[in-house]
Subunit: 464 residues, 2 copies
């Protein structure tokens, strides 16, 4: 069925185009802002809407309560013998829309607009992140059902309503429903492409480790005229520690930091180099002109495949208007480390803390706070499912899928691995200029269309 | 008259003891907190009280309005032929009393108490700073008038009501009344002794220069997962600059910083070494055990005679609870430099700014804010008036006066020099444990008594 079926499915995707857009608009009209208690009813409404749409196309779907926003879970059992079983993940909640005054049209009144370079775009909060993206998958399933009467693989859908508010219910929910949710592979549509004309699979997600350090010196704030000099200054001590964290080539100076870091294969690096990403332009967009970080590593290489140490915040002493001649009793800094596969967050944390301890002057003590780390995740780019998805995408787009890294972390993918033992296939169609989390969020109409077609093809390839 | 007169004056000081204390108590009962608008009437009352007391002892005294708290000015013309003319300065305003709950007795209900090591103490806000101190001089004048019918020198008294709130009216007032206030020498009673049993003259006041630096990198806050590495981090850049400010021996690394710094004469340094100041104890009081600052320089030497650079505050990026993975667009620090005689604040400011400019990585820009600096003041310890005062103090206390430095600055002394061209003689009887600016401020009854006697003797010596 599958081989000859996909063309009809793609025809159905095209035929459904307008109706699919209207369905997406219906979902975008629901202000499902998960971080704001004022929108709790909207979140419920969005969950119900999703469950209804899944039911419409043959899923056994329900809204499942949690202590926060509800989950939507739907099951579809393919009639294909020995059908592969996948779990699709997306989220129906969105970021707050403020500052409202910067929106060209109201954030929850989606509409089409023309944009130079992007063609027709869908404007509205959630258009890209993640309602537009999750609907590419749902519409692909719909087209399969309508064109072929079945899906080529069994599908469980899990739609979360707390992705934008830290997913507090997700871990307990996965634990409690592990049997129901476990599948052979997770499909996640919450990532993007490096170029609008070339598909991408995200195969590597950096991990994250946070450590806050509080350096204490004198037992109380001191007058700098009376104690400045003889009394150790915690701000100066902290600055000294932070200044030691990198060498002149931007390499992190924690002993052993790079021991477990693998180099990206040359082929992949070459692919990245030919993405047409203009480093100068990426920097110019944020007011910079000189690449910082590790000497000799490209922008993408650094962001996708190299570990980093960054100071995200620092505070100590007097920070109000004017001058206060104080030697403060303490100063603190918040750091995060981006980790790559094989780095052990716990080892990095210990090694960093040891470095800080040995770098402080006498009479300074330090305390550390950490929420713990999440290791990086890397998937085998030669795995069967990865090659299948890459082939499907190349057929649709006429260009090979870029095997990308992702600078940030996607906790759900880490949870799927650690709780359910599943690898994830991360395919998404968002673009860097989608303005997610910002006013005037958009999703290219072409992203929505070709995203739907891409999933239709991937489902076919995963079945064959 | 003078030589034989001083003994009678001292007898009068002793005879006046109880009445003098009652007068001080009257002044201490007035809550003349200059920083709080709720106490503006109290400040007026305190000014009137001072003017009345000066009138009582023969001064032509008046309360002079300013745009802030009023000044008290009094004039006494000695009948001695060719009498020297001095200007006495003190301030009638006090610090706020909060936190009130830490006071053992209400701050504006002065009373005597016994304290181990200090004997009888006068408890109350302003007991030491500066009501008790200024009254030592006023009571000395009273004793002279009552015992000898005259003062041995002509005296102008200037009592300020805004010393604790930055003296905003003082500069304009000095300018406007320069002719009226100008004298041969200023006497200032707002300093202290290094030991309770040995008098002191403060001959060197450090200057102050403040500079705030704001380091800017990216044009907006960036996601550390998307830009960490390639984008310069202003916090890291700022930490790097601050870490470069001192070498391993605690010496400030601004080029030329020490060029104009004179070494303290060996005799004076020896005197400081024998003050019995326990450095370990001074540090232990604030939770420290290891002297920081310039290697090989004693605590007192550093505080009284060496220039310093201190970071008083730093802030950048995310400082709230938890973690935010941000590369901030800017970070800032507030620094103050303590300067010693001959250092030019403007030169130091420029040299510091140049050091910062050259220490920043590419793509970081920096802006500087400075309220400007005040140079240090040093007085000639061999000047005639200095030797006269030292002799008077040695006679009273049986020990030579310590020629001290002062870690902080006393702006009035700088103004007397720059506006009125006068040197100042800084003699005070406050002790380190007087708890000025803190709850349970006290002034030893013996400080009040011997302070009054000391001024009686100094007036005699200045006349002869």
């Amino acid at each position: 069925m599958v081989a000859e079926g996909v063309d009809k499915v793609l025809e159905k995707v095209e035929a459904n185009g307008e109706a699919a857009l209207e369905r997406l608009f219906s979902l975008l009209r629901i202000a499902s802002i998960s971080t704001d208690a004022a929108y709790v009813d909207d979140c419920r409404e969005a969950a119900s809407w999703c469950a209804n749409v899944l039911s419409e196309i043959g899923f056994e779907a329900s809204v499942k309560p949690t202590s926060g926003q509800p989950m939507v879970v739907g099951h579809y059992r393919s009639s294909e013998p020995n059908a592969r079983h996948v779990l699709f993940y997306g989220h129906y909640d969105v970021q707050p829309a403020d500052p409202l005054e910067l929106w060209r049209t109201p954030p929850f009144e989606p509409r089409l607009a023309e944009e130079p370079g992007n063609g027709t775009v869908i404007l509205g909060r959630g258009a890209s992140d993640d309602k537009g993206q999750l609907m590419t998958f749902v519409e692909a399933c719909r087209a399969w059902r309508e064109a072929a009467g079945d899906l080529p693989v069994s599908v469980t859908v899990l739609l979360e309503g707390e992705e934008e508010s830290g997913s507090p219910s997700l871990g307990p929910f996965l634990d409690a429903h592990a049997e129901e949710l476990k599948a052979e592979l997770a499909l996640v549509c919450d990532t993007g492409q490096a170029r609008s004309d070339q598909p991408a699979i995200t195969t590597m997600l950096r991990g994250l480790l946070d450590v806050e350090i509080v350096v204490k010196g004198p037992s109380r704030d001191l007058h700098s005229g009376m104690y400045g000099g003889p009394a150790v200054n915690p701000i100066r001590a902290l600055a000294g520690v932070l200044a030691k964290l990198h060498d002149g080539d931007g390499r992190v100076q924690i002993p052993g930091f790079y021991d477990d870091v693998a180099e990206v294969p040359e082929l992949q690096r070459a692919q990245w180099a030919h993405l047409g990403r203009d480093e100068a332009d990426l920097l110019a967009k944020v007011g910079l002109s000189t690449p910082a970080g590790e000497t000799g590593r490209s922008f993408l290489e650094q962001i996708w495949s190299r570990p980093t140490a960054e100071v995200n915040g620092i505070v100590g002493g007097y920070t109000g208007p004017g001058t206060k001649t104080v030697i403060p009793s303490e100063a603190s800094a918040k750091l995060t480390f981006r980790l790559v596969p094989n780095q052990d967050p716990e080892k990095i944390r210990k090694d960093f803390q040891a470095l800080v301890q040995t770098s402080l002057p006498a009479d300074c003590t330090v305390t550390f706070k950490s929420r713990g780390g999440s290791p990086a995740v890397g998937f085998d780019i030669d795995a069967e499912y990865m090659r299948a998805a890459a082939a499907a995408l190349e057929t649709e787009w006429g260009k090979p899928a870029v095997m990308m890294g992702c600078g940030g972390s996607i906790p759900i993918v880490q949870s799927f691995k650690s709780v359910l033992g599943m690898d994830s296939l991360l395919v998404g169609f968002a673009l860097d200029d989608d303005r997610i989390h910002s006013p005037n969020e958009k999703y290219n109409l072409e992203s929505f269309r070709k995203g739907t077609r891409s999933w239709a093809r991937i489902l076919a390839k995963l079945a064959s």
